[in-house]
Symmetry: C4
């Protein structure tokens, strides 16, 4: 919360043009979401980004036949023309936006080499580069896919929401537990993968065909199974394999619910602590409800309602 | 909650006929669930709705041969006749119910254009319209399916349960977090979908057939995988694809447990606060902490600590 | 907890033979788990039940060829003989146990018609009845399967665990929420099933084969999908079907995490309340930690530690 | 926790060489993670273990052709040579490490027969034994797989993390509930497996082929379904089977969320209590409720309310 506000303030101090004028106004519209215009710009951008992602991904559907070379003699379909027009319209829009961003920040180079700056550049560059690359070549297809990095810009709406930091914070705080958890998963996956490979392939002999062709394949099965994804492309075929598999599923299930519980508990405790913490200056009772005016033990007036963020235990994040 | 009670009271003030009589009695039976008759009516309606849904869906099973034209020469099976009889019996029942509803509310037009009014109309209209539409035509099948909107009426039993609002409330409160979560999912799905498409189709060449035929198809795979549904109709076939897929599964799993934790935490904190509530006899503030001696709003001594079970909103169950 | 203890005491008062002697000693061994012998009996019984379940289920595996008629001329395999011997050994054991149970309770008929009495009878009766039924007949196979109801007796170890009631209680308390949840699931399943049936089968025409052959089949798909089971036997084949399917998966996922959160929250609040509740007789502060000796507000000695169960709010179940 | 710290201290007292010197320095580097060198050693070991696991598992991929006999005439591929070199490099590294460990502990035999000592030995022994075993024999492949037990050594990084004990503790505390849960799952799996076998195979006759060939197969299906893994290799084919299957899925889902809730609740309550702990200066009792004024064991006034962050067990993270 307030750390997020501080971050916003710090960024504004660094990047917002100091003197009032066109650049400052533009900065407020493009980079901030406080004004009506700024919020409108954000929503328009969001729509443009999602439209652009839909376009770029639909381009690869073979049935629409959009990956042909427009320079060739084969008549281009109307659909392809529309896609081409829309794609260039959006590309030019994003180019203008990128130029404006560079224009209105105080330190354009700093922005250009920041994470968002690079994402913005990668969103438009491939469209221009593609003009010089041979059509239907592999590198062409890959190049055009780079435009899909645009999707990262959806995350810019992050700042619209006050709760996002809380979520990121809860995940970040659970990082050590997640590492321990990944170590346990690594061990479980390796051991169960090896076991199933031995049983299904080595022990059972070549009388029946096995899906567990190698240990990496078995590990892939173990991960797919323990996370309850269960594609079904690799399944045990022997009775012993099925029994061990069932046991591993139950074990894996018990194992994988633990991090869920941890994140849930972290969020739970966060919610409890942030909504219930005030200190009475007379009797020292803390942990009052949000909005409490009198101490509920001694009845003393809680004049100095200390907001949760200033509590000294550092539970308010990073 | 009290807001729910208020809503019920407001609706009653608006729609319940003012003068006592047949209409008011009918209104109490059909719209309210307080009396024995009203509760009985609700249960009878529930049974009728569920029976009707079973009927309409079984009609589409090809083995039962119920989609034939009864006007044709082919002898109709006894089963089809039974279905026809039951369906018309229920349709007429729902028609009478709809007519009575219109009759006993104070402002029939207001009801007719409300959500429930439209659902009620759509539940019976297709049966009558179907008489004029050619059998076995596409539009006929679609038309008859509209009757399945009846299922929404099951939600009318919502008011029977005091806990439903709590559930809806918890989901509603988590809405901002859910939007953030969906944005993160959108980014993860786009990036991982594009990556898998590149690896499985473009990089690996045409030596083996790939399930990742296009980016939308890959995104479909990413959603099916990250939510641990895992149909198995689209699976990676290359070793690199499997390794990246396994990594994405673990990442996706970590990602998707977060909203579970949020809703869980929201409900948890709610439950903790609702089970620890005390009423101040002076200012009427409820919801004090367990063990509170003074009201935290007015400082009045809470002599009469009213246990949670006697709170008037009925959140203590059965 | 203490309600469970009360139940045990009540049962003992009713069913335990009043006068000391062989019957009372036998009763304590067979029905109670307090003594070393009683506990040993419980564990032995548990092993016998699990062994018997394994036997009965392995009998149906076609490869072992155990379903043949032993009276026929075909030489019975050694494995089949072993199965036969073990099965009869266990059946006779269970028969003796059943007889002893009937012998040592005060009211044998009351026991015979109780849930456990019927389960005990159904565990042994089919073995004897099977002697008079023709082998390899359908009814024979079904009859022998009835013996698997023995598995219910595993639940007898329930009383070994103090935590079982807590679990059952948490589930029971969430029953209203679970009904609401099932109503919401019913609506979601019907609407999404109908929608997918329309799109995949009716709208798309007969140009491609669809897995959504009827509305019940589509509903089956919706349940399999929303619970993230995802067999993959019914999957969308059209692009529009896949997009709608992906949207439904995300919606369904959001929907299905709610009851998880509810049960989790219920258990959470329970744990918090049961571990922290004691009343100070001087200042009236409740909610002390388990094991607290002095009131943590006024320092008064907590002579009268009132167990959690006697708190008036009825949160201790049933 | 402090028990973990005690364990470390006890181990150090027993196994750390008493007199200063080379052995003590080596012990601190190899067994402890306090010093920079010790931490560096741990990380290097971690990298080596993971590299070795990747190597051993890739060896079994048929496409790489690494399972051939290098003594045969067939020219070994460059890749195979590289694998061979790396594998022996790592084996020798692990051998040196094992020798050093035996050298620097006070009681080498005690270490050699401890869990970690056996894992260390099993990590290197198969490589040496494999020299004397015929290539491409079954026993050879199994022998080499034993090396994958190395993965257990990843768990040595456990001590790097203060949170691991908390996780293990939460799982351990839930053990009774997990046993109850497994008993309930066993009953549900047996009953639903038998039911589906009866319906799909026995009742439906031989007119269609069934995936439910035996009761164990049906139980395998029940476990795969109830844990929401859903491979799709065993699916119901009859309409009645699908209806019962859908009901079982919903029931199983309700059932399986319970342990998730339990672990989550256990962790939640743990987190709440660990963040709200105060130390009594008289008797040393920690872990008082937030807002406690008197120690609840000795009644001494808690003048010095020590905030949670300064608690000595390091549970406050990084």
């Amino acid at each position: 919360m307030s750390t997020a506000t501080e971050k916003v303030l710090r960024r504004r101090l660094i990047q917002r043009p100091a003197e009032p004028g066109v650049r400052q106004t533009l900065y407020d519209v493009i980079f901030e979401a406080d004004s009506t215009l700024g919020r409108g710009f954000d929503i328009a951008l969001l729509v443009a980004i999602i439209a652009s992602i839909v376009l770029v991904s639909l381009e690869t559907v073979p049935e629409y036949g959009l990956q042909r070379d427009p320079k060739s003699e084969t008549p281009v379909s109307t659909l392809a023309t529309w896609f081409w027009v829309l794609e260039w319209f959006l590309t030019i829009l994003f180019t203008i936006e990128y130029a404006l961003r560079l224009y209105c920040v105080r330190h354009p180079l700093k922005y250009a080499f920041s994470f968002w700056g690079i994402v913005d550049l990668l969103s438009i560059l491939p469209s221009y580069l593609a003009l010089f690359v041979e059509y239907s070549a592999k590198s062409f297809v890959i190049l055009r896919s780079v435009r899909l990095l645009r999707v990262f810009r959806v995350l810019k709406l992050w700042r619209m929401m006050s709760q996002a930091d809380e979520l990121a914070d809860a995940v970040w705080k659970s990082r050590e537990k997640i590492i321990v958890f990944l170590a346990v998963v690594l061990v479980a996956v390796t051991i169960s993968g090896t076991l199933m490979y031995q049983i299904e392939t080595v022990l059972m002999g070549s009388s029946h065909e096995s899906d567990f062709t190698s240990i990496p394949q078995s590990m892939y099965w173990a991960i797919v199974t323990m996370t309850t994804v269960g594609y079904g492309d690799v399944v045990p075929h022997t009775t012993i394999g099925k029994i061990i598999s069932a046991a591993l599923i139950l074990l894996g299930y018990s194992l994988i619910i633990v991090p869920t519980g941890f994140v849930s508990a972290e969020l739970s405790s966060k919610l409890v602590t942030t909504t219930e913490r005030h200190l009475c200056s007379q009797c020292g009772l803390s942990n009052h409800r949000a909005g409490a005016v009198h101490c509920d033990r001694c009845g003393h007036r809680l004049d100095d309602v200390i907001p949760a963020v200033s509590s000294p235990d550092g539970s308010q994040g990073s």
